[in-house]
Symmetry: C2
Subunit: 383 residues, 2 copies
């Protein structure tokens, strides 16, 4: 386990307080992040879609794990005592009976089971099994628990912030190595590979996400895998990573000019830097997510840059991205303890953008950087 049991007890107590306030008798959790958050169960085995995994959080007391037997040994090393298993995958009953029995014992015959069903969630179990479960448990109701889980998970504890700080430092050291392997003529795929190796060498446990791009004065998108095209003089190279240490993510990018930077690339980089700088100074609990979008957007316009559409940052923690989203529509209030990314982007021309990203934790008095600050001037990688 990454944290002492008390850390998980505190998390579950916060969930239970929110459940009580909303009349929810038990939570049913199915996704890797929620299971890791409540139990400490950490594995890359989620990469296999074959088996569902369940954790039931009752109204009081410790959660109950209802999981495939292949995970019993690893779950047995967490703080949970009540671990119920079946042999999965089972085409006749893949855990539904065991889960229904567990829930039926846990909550009253007219109780409410909370399941996260809203924005930025999905249920990691077969839909047909969910419908079977709902029928088995009637007249108990299944209700949306998105708000319960998100309001608790979004405020990070000190030990969580320390873990995110650690992986941000690892990624910062890996980014510092980029000029050693990004050179004119090197295929982007090789640069991506070397960057992943640098992240591992600097201490990442694994690298769940790398994306980026390279093109004259910018790139067309920010989610592409690498192609075979070699870096060219005049390219702006962007690398973005969600590397993982102890189950916690960083999520930030860096830009590099390949050869001397053009004036427009330099100006775009400076505009993004200044918009971030101004927003960092203004961030306070009580602002809403949409206010941060406005700060960044207006900051870019003030610098004469054309803001890119899309969200301009988001939450961060046990997944690469978490709510809230810095969009014009997200009204989520910022709270002390939130770990967030600021991710302004601007357009340099049709299909040419530049994005800069930082990771921060919000305190009562304002933002603390977790990523090493982007340099004020666009770094140049010279041959």
């Amino acid at each position: 386990m990454i944290f002492p049991a008390q850390e998980y007890r505190d998390r579950v107590a916060r969930l239970q307080t929110a459940m009580g306030a909303r009349g929810v008798d038990a939570l049913l959790l199915t996704n890797p992040a929620d299971l890791f958050y409540t139990t400490g169960f950490l594995t890359r085995f989620w990469e296999s879609p074959a088996r569902p995994w369940f954790v039931v959080v009752p109204g009081s007391g410790a959660p109950i794990a209802v999981i495939p037997s292949i995970g019993a040994e690893l779950m047995g090393r967490t703080w949970l005592d009540d671990i119920r298993t079946w042999h999965a995958p089972n085409p006749v009953d893949d855990g539904v009976g065991l889960l229904a029995d567990t829930l039926a014992q846990t909550l009253p015959a007219r109780g409410a089971i909370g399941v996260p069903m809203g924005l930025e969630t999905h249920l990691r179990m077969p839909m047909a099994d969910f419908e079977r479960l709902r029928a088995r448990l009637a007249p108990r109701r299944i209700v949306d628990a998105t708000d319960i889980v998100q309001r608790v998970r979004e405020v990070k504890s000190g030990p969580e912030i320390d873990r995110i700080r650690a992986i941000c430092a690892i990624a910062g050291r890996a980014f510092a190595r980029v000029p050693g392997f990004a050179a004119v003529g090197r295929p982007l795929a090789d640069v991506f590979r070397d960057f992943q190796i640098a992240l591992l060498n600097e201490g990442a446990d694994w690298v769940s996400y790398v994306a980026g791009g390279a093109g004259p004065d910018g790139y067309g998108d920010v989610i592409s895998p690498a192609g075979a095209q070699p870096l060219q003089p005049g390219d702006v190279l962007m690398l973005d990573t969600g590397a993982v240490k102890d189950g916690y993510f960083c999520d930030f990018d860096r830009n590099f000019a390949i050869g001397p930077a053009s004036d427009s690339a330099r100006r775009a980089h400076a505009a993004l830097w200044q918009a971030t700088e101004d927003t960092l100074a203004a961030l306070r609990p009580g602002l809403r997510a949409c206010d941060v979008h406005a700060l960044l957007w207006q900051g870019l316009e003030k610098q004469g840059a054309t803001p890119a559409s899309g969200r301009l940052g988001h939450g961060l923690g046990v997944t690469l991205t978490e709510w809230p989203s810095f969009t014009p529509l997200d009204q989520t209030p910022l709270r002390a303890g939130m770990v967030l990314t600021l991710e302004p982007g601007c357009m340099l021309g049709p299909g040419r953008m530049m994005v800069q990203e930082e990771n921060i934790v919000l305190h009562e008095h304002g933002a603390e950087l977790l990523s090493p600050r982007v340099p004020a001037e666009l770094p140049e990688v010279l041959a």
Copy 2:
């Protein structure tokens, strides 16, 4: 795109034939594997749970992508022409309206929309949005399409098999490097890190899965991340990987004795090897998944080994694991073109197991190995 457009047209035509036979007017696909399979859309951005992505396969013609605008550029490089986007995440309507309109245009007012809902599936969109979609589309029905998708995807084309062969060869070369970095006193976490670096150096695009264990004469489970404990003389070290090249996975493991192997470890390794050897010789299309389980189980018993519970192999391709599952209950018939893992495990004592895994493709005449065959004797890593 990894393959020419014709490869995707062929896949979609096979899906449409199966849809026609079952009275399904359109398929709604939501997960990374199904989108990659039908369109060629490949990104690690799925690591962000923030946004849903949709592909609609109509009864005839090319699929329609209904996706967040952040993916428009990358989807535009696939063979699809009809790409509809919205700005996500949107707390008011996160693509449901656009998707409902698209489906309503695509199928008749009393048509059937197929969604994979069965074993080894899940729906990657918010449950509340799925319920909204269902209400919006009534009286159109949503029906289970698990069988349609699985029967098509499970038979790999020649170009797909070539990709899996390539990543198997990469992982084979990385496993050959293990004696260079697995040594007495090295923490398991460092061994995992070096193994990932070896996979990247040998040509993997990224490493989605590494698990393993080490202990005297075996390990307690096969899904754990690495701990800080150093390797000890007498340990059996197992490393298992799902590395990725061009979106295709390998999934196999290897065992190494740290110092001279004990008799019981050597015997277990030999029993697993022989059970695999006998099963490789017996594999033919027409056997069912449960028959393969029986072959491996009985092969282990014949060698005097105690088989481990759980599935003893599975499908493989665009995810780390695919159906069918080699369990006593899975009746799926084997067909030529399936790519499969054989994964027999045996117990050496309480909480001590050994697992050996190979990757194969099934032809009409029998199995072809894709992974380099496990050596008949347990390899020893000597100081």
